[in-house]
C-alpha cells in the first residue's frame, strides 16, 4: 500500500469514528468570563516588593545573626 493510499484509508477510518466538527461557534458570548479572568489576575511583583526583598537579603548578608531571630518570629 502506498503512502497516499494509507493516508486515505486512515482518514476514512478516522472520519467514520470522529466526524468533522460542524458547530464552530461558542454557545454564548465569552467576553464576560474573559473580563472576570482579567479582573482576578494576580497582582504583579512591583518595584516596591523587589526593593524590599533586596533590602532584606542585604541585611541578612551583613548581619547573619538576624537569621535565627527572623526564623523565630516566622
Amino acid at each position: 500500500m502506498s503512502h497516499d493510499d494509507e493516508i486515505d484509508l486512515v482518514a476514512r477510518q478516522l472520519r467514520s469514528a470522529l466526524p468533522p466538527w460542524d458547530d464552530l461557534e461558542p454557545r454564548v458570548d465569552l467576553w464576560p468570563r474573559m473580563l472576570e479572568r482579567l479582573q482576578h489576575q494576580p497582582a504583579p511583583f512591583g518595584w516596591f516588593e523587589s526593593a524590599l526583598a533586596a533590602l532584606i537579603l542585604l541585611a541578612l548578608a551583613f548581619f547573619p545573626e538576624l537569621v535565627p531571630m527572623i526564623l523565630y518570629h516566622l
Partner: protein, 172 residues
C-alpha cells in the same frame, strides 16, 4: 494608533474588540482539536488570557488571527497532554454502509481508542489534516513548525494509528 498597536500597548478596550472579533474563530479552531464544547470554551478563555499576558511580544505589523490560532493550538495540545479526553461523541452524519450497527459501533470504538492513545501533537496534526481537512500550510502555521515537518507528523500519526488498529484486529 490602530487597534493592534493599542492592544499591544495594553489597552483593554482594544483587547475587547479583538476578543469579540476573533472569539468565534479561536473557539472553532479549538473545538475541532478537543471535540468538546465546554472544554473549548474554557480553552478559548485560556488562549485569550495567554494572548493578553504576552501582548508585548505581539508584532502589530502582522495579522492577529494566525498568532491567536498558534496560541490556541498550544493551549489545546497542553490540555490534550494533561487530561484524558472527554469528547462529545456524535453519530456520523451519513448512514453506515454496513448493515450491522453493533459491528460499526465497535469498529468506531476501536478507532477512537487507538486515536486517543496517540501523543497529543500527533493527534492534533492528524485531526486537523485528515478529519477537518484543513490546508497543510494553515496547520503548519498553527503548530509552529515547517510544512515538511507537518506532513511528516501526519505520516507518523497515520503509521502509529495503523499499527495500533492492526494490533486490535482492525484491518484495511
Amino acid at each position: 494608533m490602530d487597534l493592534l498597536e493599542r492592544f499591544a500597548g495594553g489597552d483593554v478596550d482594544a483587547f475587547e474588540t479583538l476578543f469579540r472579533r476573533h472569539q468565534g474563530e479561536v473557539y472553532g479552531w479549538i473545538v475541532r482539536l478537543v471535540r468538546n464544547p465546554g472544554v473549548a470554551e474554557e480553552l478559548t478563555i485560556e488562549t485569550f488570557w495567554r494572548i493578553y499576558r504576552h501582548r508585548q511580544r505581539f508584532d502589530a505589523g502582522r495579522p492577529f488571527g494566525p498568532w491567536a490560532r498558534r496560541i490556541a493550538t498550544r493551549a489545546a495540545i497542553d490540555h490534550l497532554n494533561a487530561s484524558a479526553p472527554v469528547w462529545t461523541v456524535r453519530p456520523p452524519t451519513a448512514p453506515p454502509s454496513d448493515p450491522d450497527p453493533v459491528e460499526q459501533r465497535e469498529l468506531r470504538g476501536c478507532i477512537e481508542r487507538a486515536f486517543v492513545a496517540l501523543p497529543a501533537r500527533l493527534r492534533a496534526a492528524a485531526i486537523l489534516a485528515l478529519v477537518e481537512e484543513r490546508p497543510y500550510p494553515e496547520i503548519a502555521e498553527a503548530l509552529g513548525i515547517s510544512l515538511s515537518a507537518t506532513k511528516m507528523r501526519v505520516r507518523r500519526a497515520v503509521r502509529a494509528l495503523r499499527a495500533r488498529l492492526e494490533r486490535m484486529g482492525v484491518g484495511p
